[in-house]
Symmetry: C2
Subunit: 566 residues, 2 copies
């Protein structure tokens, strides 16, 4: 491909509003342009990378016998009303009315559509297992689009869906997809960790995220050093190393703690460590129920875990006003004893072994001392409800947890019968009994992969693309377009290498400085500079990671290229 | 590919609301499913055909050095306000508000976006010519989606855009695209005619449509038998064969024609042929101007031609009420003499040579006889404004025009500076002078090509796909899955032919009747049936056009396949 025919509008400086390194590179290198907030055009260079990522996906899906298809992007509201997500999905869904006033939406994901079109047309267990995938534009009306392709309102996603007659079939399909995803990320050159994840609004209970460590990542993952345990911090479990006291249980004493509202206030005022105080926090669940959550004073409540325990649509801490209206209490004085206004009292495991602990007295300005779990408290449920801390032991090998910021590039779900039950997608099993189809769904943020790869492969002046997804494998840079010997050699090498590789030939009438700067941003694995020694058959070769270029004869070059790219 | 792993939900009968033959085939064969009115899912079989059409497009675009990229589908209203099309586009545009209340739209086409992102970033003539293309989903809120993929609300389109510094460059780009389009349609097996076309809301003056003759076509094209002239009926020009009378001009006479409103009434009442009467029709132009159009009594006004002549945004015949309010006249009495209420009087060429003709008297219930063009009328413009009739001579070779219904599958436009002037996309020419970039745009309705191909390649029981876009080249149909000799041979042939061809292997436990019926709908160019003589190495071969299958040895088969598909 001749560079003069490609549209690669490189920039000397990235616009000031670009913060992320990958975003800057994509703008400076002419890979993308923003059309409106969080909505991008993929220019030829960016599109080439996208195409290569997509090609890898297609090949790996073919290896596990999953065929490609395409659902529409414009969907009827009725479909999402069946699953209940038309109401649940919230502001992130783009909604519109057509000319006849019918409500529609732009698909943010396609569980409903696949359930409707595929799962519902499966009649017998004989037609399963089956799986399908698509690669297409998705739409989410992000409140604050940011970091280039990381958080956008229109993005490209691979989404695959599986349909099974049995749990065993689902497990096998899930494992196939997991392996395919790992192969895809490896070939794309993205370093990822598979972590335990929250299923969120997707439904189902069992899901795994693929997280790519990167400075601009919006997630935090917790892993141990041997990678035998890895989880999104939202789901991370740690072992509590606190050693409970062996002291004898004493009688409850009410103490005045005027004006003491926080744990820090109380530790000081009562001269006890935070580990000897129980925090009692009132939550509003599903905007109607009042749930009192107890946790040790040194820990924080993990609301994702709380949501899962309660199987809730929403949880949030009650405001001071709401608390006062319900209980007549101020924040620091709430406690679990005689909390008759609470619909439910639940506790984090950490408070189970506490002896002679401090709790709010349910009387403004007072605490109770010497409260003991088994003796004094009536708790509806005890569970792990706390945020894990870095350095705490993991639950498998008890090695210290390490936290890393990272980008979610993929997410796979065992949906089970979440959608098929709601939408009535049944089949007849081997005994002629009607059963709901068992589904899985599997997604890769294709455009987000670009952000992750770039974050992980930046160089001092540009980028070193992994070879399978580089927009071009080889970049031939001719110094003087008017030098006939150079042109002859450039065209000869272009013709020769184009047989096996994607070759970009910089045939522009530009100064060497401009050409080199652009080449750094294009980041081909091998750059060949054709200059003064062209007539002797000598060129210069440089990989993005090389500090300096190396002189070679064209014979040496052929070996070098095949070694690097073959 | 194993048929058991593909999702091909064939139907015995197409749903009753499917009218078009291609629509029925696509539903019965499990190629597509409707998700909501005019919005389709492309199932694996349909998607394979689409992918092959797209691959052909990619190859032909590469041959003319046009790189691929992708604009977003979600576009800001502001972009279309710059071109004026936000107002003009009407109800066919899907419009929506985002969570912050900003107006957006779903791209029905991308002239504005390419002008903004590409044309505006071209600074110098040195960067041109350049051209780019994308293949993506487009959205138009059709009032009445119909005929399967023919008229849908979400569809796939190839759209290419060219950017030139000179008219000569544009002409060259236009010709390149025209040739590429012809090659694409040929390889897809669609028979098309390139015709003179109306540019409609797209802007620009010069455009060519690619029309595929088909029963369900919504367009009519007029061609002569040698194809030296071909035009959309909207633009078709014919030679008027009417011989004017040689009689002497006589003095005007006013005659009473009480209650005579139509041409048919008048010919009877006055006993003159329609060719001796002039129709005077009042048009409302751009919803404000009153234009009186004169045409010979036996001809109809072509409103597309009228729109072009007036360079109007809209033209329509005035209602009886509007006519009466402006002139005090009823329909039959309107005429061109003393029509002081008309902003303009224009005439079709056919009235120029009439002698002693009849016109409305501008007095209710009266006509004027013996009116003569040069002597009596003051006409602002005379032009070809009539609808061509089948059988009339074409304007090139004077051969009779033949009309054919057809599907518009492609349309190419010389846009010129229509968008770049409005949106301020300028470059510096060789003399350092600022000029607007000269654009062209080029579109193929990819999903519509499917409809056209199918309409043109239906067989008695299914379809005969053209070989380059058949979902599979070879279909191996095994009669008895429990017969080991059959399985051995089927797997051997599958392995062998898969090296060079897309092979579908029907490995389902279904009755032969079911398998054959499905195979007719899948329409592979070569079908191999493996039955009783498998152990002797004998199979049956059938092309969709063959009445009966032919027995062959596997050796003969290899030659046959290479001859048919190679």
């Amino acid at each position: 491909m001749r560079q003069s025919k490609l549209f690669i509008p490189t920039l000397k400086e990235a616009p000031a509003d670009a913060v992320a390194a990958s975003h800057k590179l994509m703008l400076r290198g002419g890979y993308v342009r923003q059309v409106t907030a969080g909505v991008y055009a993929y220019l030829p260079l960016g599109y080439r990378v996208l195409t290569k990522v997509e090609q890898i996906i297609k090949e790996e899906m073919a290896k596990i016998n999953v065929p490609e298809m395409a659902m529409p992007e414009l969907l009827p509201a009725s479909l999402w009303e069946e699953s209940g997500r038309w109401q649940k999905y919230g502001l992130e869904m783009f909604r519109l009315n057509d000319r006849h006033g019918r409500q529609s939406l732009l698909g943010p994901t396609h569980e409903e559509t696949f359930t409707q079109i595929v799962a519902k047309s499966i009649k017998s267990y004989k037609q399963m297992p089956i799986a399908l995938y698509q690669i297409q534009n998705k739409f989410r009306d992000e409140n604050r689009p940011r970091f280039g392709l990381l958080r956008t309102r229109e993005f490209i996603m691979l989404d695959a869906y599986s349909f099974a007659a049995t749990r065993e079939q689902l497990d096998e399909q899930f494992n196939d997809e997991k392996k395919a995803f790992e192969a895809i990320f490896k070939r794309c050159g993205v370093n990822v960790t598979a972590v335990i994840a929250d299923s969120g609004t997707m439904g189902g209970k069992n899901s795994t995220e693929f997280q790519a460590p990167a400075a601009i990542g919006e997630d935090t993952i917790a892993t141990n050093e041997t990678n035998t345990y890895s989880a999104n911090l939202e789901m991370a479990v740690s072992v509590d190393t606190f050693k409970p006291s062996q002291e004898k249980e004493e009688a409850i004493v009410k103490v005045a703690t005027p004006g003491q509202e926080t744990i820090a206030d109380l530790t000081k005022f009562l001269n006890v460590p935070a580990t000897k105080i129980v925090k009692s926090i009132l939550y509003i669940v599903n905007e109607k129920d009042h749930v009192l959550v107890l946790i040790r004073g040194d820990k924080q409540v993990n609301e994702v875990k709380l949501t899962h325990l309660l199987d809730a649509d929403s949880v949030r801490v009650a405001s001071d006003d709401e608390l006062y209206q319900l209980t007549g209490l101020k924040k620091g004085s709430v406690g679990p004893i005689n909390a008759t206004w609470a619909d439910q009292i639940i506790a984090d495991e950490t408070i189970k072994n506490l002896v002679n602990t401090v709790v709010g007295a349910n009387e403004n300005g007072y605490q109770l001392k010497n409260v003991n779990f088994d003796r004094d408290l009536k708790i509806d449920q005890v569970s792990d409800l706390r945020v894990a801390n870095e350095g705490e032991p993991d639950p498998i090998d008890h090695l210290p947890l390490k936290f890393t910021t990272s980008i979610e590039v993929g997410h796979i779900f065992k949906l089970g019968t979440y959608y098929t039950e709601k939408m009535g997608a049944d089949f007849l099993d081997q005994n002629g009994k009607s059963q709901p189809v068992i589904m899985g769904s599997y997604g890769i943020g294709v455009t987000r992969v670009l952000s992750a790869v770039i974050e992980q492969h930046l160089t001092k002046f540009g980028i070193a693309w992994p070879k399978e997804i580089a927009p071009f494998n080889l970049h031939i840079v001719q110094m003087k377009m008017k030098d006939e010997a150079q042109t002859r050699l450039a065209e000869q090498l272009e013709a020769e290498f184009s047989k096996n590789y994607d070759v970009l030939y910089d045939d522009r009438n530009e100064r060497p400085g401009v050409k080199f700067a652009d080449a750094d941003l294009i980041g081909a694995p091998v750059r060949i500079t054709i200059g003064k020694k062209a007539s002797e058959g000598i060129i210069e070769v440089k990989r993005p990671s090389d500090e300096v270029a190396t002189e070679m004869t064209t014979t040496e070059l052929a070996d070098f290229v095949n070694k690097e790219l073959g």
